[in-house]
C-alpha cells in the first residue's frame, strides 16, 4: 500500500484534549499516508468534532504531537494550516449565505491570489461540480446539495493536500447521497480525503481504513470490513449485548 519509509501525510501521537477534568480526547495515535483515504466514526459525544477542531487549529491540544507532511502542526492557527494544505468542512453546511456563489469562490481564491490554481483547473473543477449554472445565485438560495458542492469547490481552489470532511452527506436526500459518494470518490484524485461520519454507510464505500472513536478513545483502526465484524465496536455502538 505505501512505501514503509515514506513520510506520512498526517501523523498523530498521544493526542490528548482536556476540558477541565473531562478528557475529550485521550492519547489518540494513528498515521495516514497521501494515497490513503481514511474514515472516522463514533457515536454522539465520542470526541469526533473535538478531534477535527484540534487538528485544524480551532482548539489547542493538552498534550501530544501532530505532524502534517512532516511539519509540526502545534501552535499553528487555522489559516496557517491552510497554507500547509490542510482544509476542513463543517458538520452543518457553512457558506457565505448572503454572497453570490461566485463571490464565495472568489473569497476562497484570495488565499493564493497569483499562484493559485490555473484557469484550466478552475474551469475543470467548476464543470465537474456542475456549479456554472448557479454562479450568479446567492448562496443561501441554492439547494443543500449544491451548497455541499460549493464547499468542495471552495476547498479545491486552496490547492489542498488533505480535506477533512465532517459528515459530508448530512441532510441529503437518499438519491443525492449516492451522487455525493461518487463525487467524493472522484475527489480523491485531487486531494487525500478524511471523512468523519457517525455511521458506516458512507465510510465503507470511501475509506481504505477506519478509525473508531468512543468516549475520546480509539478502540479500533482497520479496513471497513474488519470494523463491521469487530465485536467491541458492535457492542459499544448498539448498547448492551444485542447483536
Amino acid at each position: 500500500m505505501n512505501q514503509p519509509g515514506a513520510i506520512p501525510l498526517l501523523s498523530v501521537k498521544d493526542l490528548t484534549l482536556r476540558f477541565g477534568g473531562l478528557y475529550a480526547l485521550n492519547k489518540i495515535n494513528f498515521e495516514m499516508h497521501a494515497n490513503e483515504s481514511l474514515g472516522m466514526i463514533g457515536p454522539n459525544g465520542s470526541g469526533k468534532s473535538s478531534f477535527v477542531n484540534v487538528l485544524t487549529g480551532h482548539f489547542k491540544p493538552f498534550s501530544g504531537e501532530m505532524q502534517f507532511a512532516g511539519q509540526s502542526m502545534l501552535g499553528k492557527s487555522a489559516h496557517q494550516l491552510v497554507g500547509l494544505g490542510l482544509c476542513r468542512t463543517y458538520q452543518a453546511v457553512r457558506v457565505f449565505g448572503n454572497l453570490s456563489v461566485q463571490r464565495n469562490i472568489d473569497t476562497a481564491r484570495l488565499f493564493f491570489a497569483e499562484e493559485g490554481i490555473t484557469e484550466h483547473q478552475y474551469a475543470q473543477y467548476l464543470d465537474w461540480l456542475k456549479l456554472t449554472p448557479v454562479l450568479g445565485k446567492t448562496a443561501k438560495d441554492i439547494t443543500l446539495f449544491e451548497q455541499r458542492k460549493l464547499e468542495l469547490m471552495m476547498r479545491l481552489v486552496l490547492k489542498p493536500k488533505l480535506i477533512m470532511l465532517d459528515e459530508p452527506v448530512g441532510g441529503l436526500a437518499t438519491s443525492e447521497v449516492s451522487e455525493m459518494i461518487q463525487l467524493l470518490h472522484e475527489l480523491k484524485a485531487y486531494s487525500s480525503v478524511f471523512v468523519i461520519e457517525h455511521t458506516m454507510r458512507v465510510i465503507k464505500e470511501l475509506a481504505d481504513r477506519v478509525v473508531v472513536l468512543i468516549a475520546g478513545e480509539k478502540i479500533a483502526d482497520g479496513p471497513p470490513s474488519q470494523i463491521l465484524s469487530n465485536q467491541r465496536v458492535i457492542k459499544e455502538y448498539l448498547g448492551s449485548a444485542h447483536a
Partner: protein, 309 residues
C-alpha cells in the same frame, strides 16, 4: 477599477460646490462641516459596513489626534503640516490598541466595550487638563498656513472637499480590492473565513488602522477648521451621530455614508432655532432606522431594485 458615470458626476459636484458658496459664510461653513462628516462617515463605514463592527470609540480617536496635534504644535513649535502626520499616526496607533478587544468580543459585547472605551477617554480628556485644557476646551486654534497665508473660509472648504473625495476614493479602492473582500468575508462568517486561509486577526488590525487614520485626520482638520475643541466635541454622542449618518444612508455601500452625511449633517445648523430638537431628532432616527430600515435609505433602495430586477 471601473468608475461609473454616476460616481464621476457625484465627485465633480462635491468638488464644485465650495465655489458656489464662496461668499455665503454661513452656507459655506455648513458645507465644510458636511465634508468633514462625509470623511468620518466613510471611514467608520469601513469598520461598521465592511467588517461588521460598530466602533463607538471613533470620536475618541479623533479627539486624541486633535489634542495631540495642538500639543505638538504648541510644545514643539512645529507648524501644522509637520504635526499633522505625527498626530495622525499617534492617534491611529492608539486606535489599533483600542480595537484589540474586537479580537475576543463580537456584536453587542464589542459595541459595549467600545462605548466604555469612549466614555473613559472622554473622562480622560476632562481630567488631564495639562494636555486638553480640561472641560473648557481649547479655543483660538490657528488654521494651517499655506505659503504664509492662513487657510480660511472657502479655501478650507475646498481642501475639505478634496479630502472627502479622496476619502471616498480610498474606501472605494479598499471595497474593490482583495482586502475589502477579506473584510466582507470576516463580517459574514469569521470562523469560515479563518478556515479558508484568511488571517482574521491581522485583517481586523488593518481595518482598525485604516479607520483610525480617517478618524484622526478628520479630528485634526475639525480642530483647525472650527477653531475650538472640547471633550464634548469627541464624546459618545459624536460617535453615535457619525454611526447614524452611515446607518441612515446605508451601511456597507460607498454612497450610503455620503448620502447620510449630506442629509443629516446640515440639520443642526439649519434648525438653529430648534437646538434641543437636534438630540430628539437623531434619537428618533436611530430608533426608526434600527427597527424599520436596517439597510438605510440607499441600502433599502438597492434591495428594492434587486428585488424588482
Amino acid at each position: 477599477m471601473k468608475i461609473k458615470p454616476l460616481h464621476a458626476l457625484l465627485t465633480l459636484a462635491l468638488l464644485v460646490l465650495p465655489f458656489l458658496f464662496k461668499d455665503n459664510r454661513f452656507l459655506g461653513f455648513i458645507l465644510g462641516i458636511t465634508y468633514l462628516n462625509i470623511f468620518w462617515a466613510t471611514g467608520m463605514n469601513i469598520l461598521y459596513g465592511f467588517v461588521g463592527l460598530m466602533p463607538l470609540m471613533f470620536a475618541a480617536i479623533s479627539g486624541i489626534a486633535a489634542y495631540a496635534l495642538l500639543y505638538f504644535i504648541a510644545e514643539w513649535h512645529i507648524n501644522f503640516w509637520f504635526a499633522l502626520p505625527v498626530a495622525t499616526l499617534f492617534a491611529s496607533f492608539i486606535g489599533v490598541l483600542l480595537g484589540l478587544p474586537s479580537l475576543r468580543l463580537k456584536g453587542f459585547y464589542f459595541t459595549l466595550c467600545s462605548l466604555i472605551i469612549q466614555s473613559t477617554l472622554t473622562l480622560a480628556f476632562i481630567f488631564f487638563p495639562k494636555f486638553t485644557n480640561g472641560d473648557t476646551g481649547i479655543n483660538q486654534i490657528s488654521p494651517p498656513l499655506w505659503f504664509g497665508e492662513p487657510i480660511k473660509g472657502y479655501a478650507f472648504e475646498c481642501m475639505l472637499a478634496l479630502m472627502a473625495v479622496v476619502g471616498i476614493g480610498v474606501s472605494y479602492f479598499v471595497y474593490q480590492s482583495n482586502l475589502g473582500q477579506r473584510f466582507v468575508a470576516i463580517r459574514e462568517d469569521d470562523v469560515l473565513a479563518e478556515s479558508l486561509g484568511i488571517n482574521v486577526v491581522i485583517n481586523r488590525v488593518v481595518a482598525f488602522f485604516i479607520v483610525s487614520l480617517y478618524a484622526a485626520l478628520g479630528g485634526c482638520f475639525y480642530a483647525t477648521y472650527i477653531g475650538f475643541i472640547s471633550p464634548r466635541s469627541f464624546d459618545v454622542l459624536s460617535s453615535l451621530n457619525i454611526w447614524l449618518f452611515v446607518a441612515f444612508g446605508g451601511k456597507a455601500t460607498i454612497a450610503g455614508p455620503v448620502i447620510g452625511s449630506i442629509l443629516l449633517a446640515p440639520l443642526p445648523f439649519l434648525l438653529q432655532s430648534l437646538e434641543a430638537y437636534k438630540d430628539i431628532l437623531s434619537g428618533v432616527l436611530i430608533v426608526l432606522i434600527t427597527l424599520l430600515m436596517p439597510g438605510g435609505i440607499y441600502g433599502t433602495y438597492l434591495a428594492w431594485r434587486n428585488a424588482n430586477k
